[in-house]
């Protein structure tokens, strides 16, 4: 087993364990902290696949901004009682586990049957700022511009939603 595989399995175990932690922890703050671990592990995965820019963006956007937003929302809402009462839909929730298992089986069958037939080219590209920037401003110029509109719409929408109504 090479060093690359060892780090891969350590990262994979960390990613899966922290994802399970997010789902299972009752306290949302604990879930948010597990989410930070999960996102950082994903950044390490990106780094391992030579996607340096994405790894940095992942840490800044996800582990930075989004995680802080989550923790902030939890602090504002002060939950803690919402998942303690009697569960009216308990049978449906138990049904969710076999459904998720079925989804996993379907994904495994689909991935095995189609995607790995034949070897792809083995010329790995480094995802530095120069490479990804060139792709974004040539092939993906229009999607990139639309993204800026999307962010503007989100900004305006959030302000409109969060504003207290003046009676």
């Amino acid at each position: 087993m090479t060093a690359g595989l060892v780090t891969f399995w350590i990262l994979a175990a960390l990613a899966v364990a922290s994802a399970i932690g997010v789902v299972l922890k009752r306290n949302p703050i604990h879930s948010a902290l597990f989410l930070v671990v999960h996102l950082a592990t994903l950044a390490a995965f990106f780094l391992k696949m030579r996607a340096e820019f994405l790894a940095t963006a992942q840490v800044i956007v996800y582990a930075g901004a989004i995680a802080i937003l989550f923790v902030f929302a939890i602090m504002v809402l002060i939950p803690g009682r919402e998942e303690t009462g009697t569960d009216a839909l308990r049978s449906q929730r138990l049904l969710a586990v076999p459904v998720a298992g079925l989804l996993l089986v379907l994904l495994a069958v689909m991935l095995r049957s189609t995607l790995f037939a034949g070897a792809g080219p083995k010329t790995s590209v480094a995802g530095g700022v120069a490479t990804i920037g060139r792709a974004l401003f040539t092939d993906y110029l229009y999607p990139f511009e639309v993204t800026s509109v999307l962010l503007l719409v989100a900004l305006v929408g959030v302000i409109a939603l969060a504003k207290r109504r003046v009676a």
């Binding site: 690359g4 879930s31 991935l111 080219p121 092939d139």
Partner: protein, 100 residues
């Protein structure tokens, strides 16, 4: 070098964990976190396939997913806060009305 199939396998497992979280949890905040896990699983698959084909396109797509996720979280959390102001409770099962 790690085979692409391993990365995609981990991505599939993470996606299923996220889907399970959306199905079983009642707190909308945790449901949002589970959605983030699913988006990240898709990102991992994108980057893995991009690496396999020696192409930058996978990473460019992940960049757009990142932007959409940021917008989605901002709007979603604002909606949750607005609902909480109205209802004083926080459970997705109680939100069965189209107009509050």
């Amino acid at each position: 070098m790690v085979p692409t199939a391993y990365y995609v396998g981990v991505s599939a497992v993470l996606f299923v964990i996220g889907a399970l979280g959306v199905l079983v949890r009642r707190n909308p905040l945790v449901i949002f976190m589970s959605i983030e896990i699913m988006l990240n699983a898709a990102n991992l698959a994108f980057v893995a396939f991009g690496e396999r084909h020696g192409s930058i396109n996978g990473q460019a797509l992940v960049f757009f997913v990142l932007c959409v996720a940021a917008a989605e979280v901002a709007v979603g959390l604002a909606i949750i806060v607005a609902i909480f102001r109205l209802r004083r409770r926080l459970s997705v099962d109680e939100l069965s009305l189209m107009r509050g």
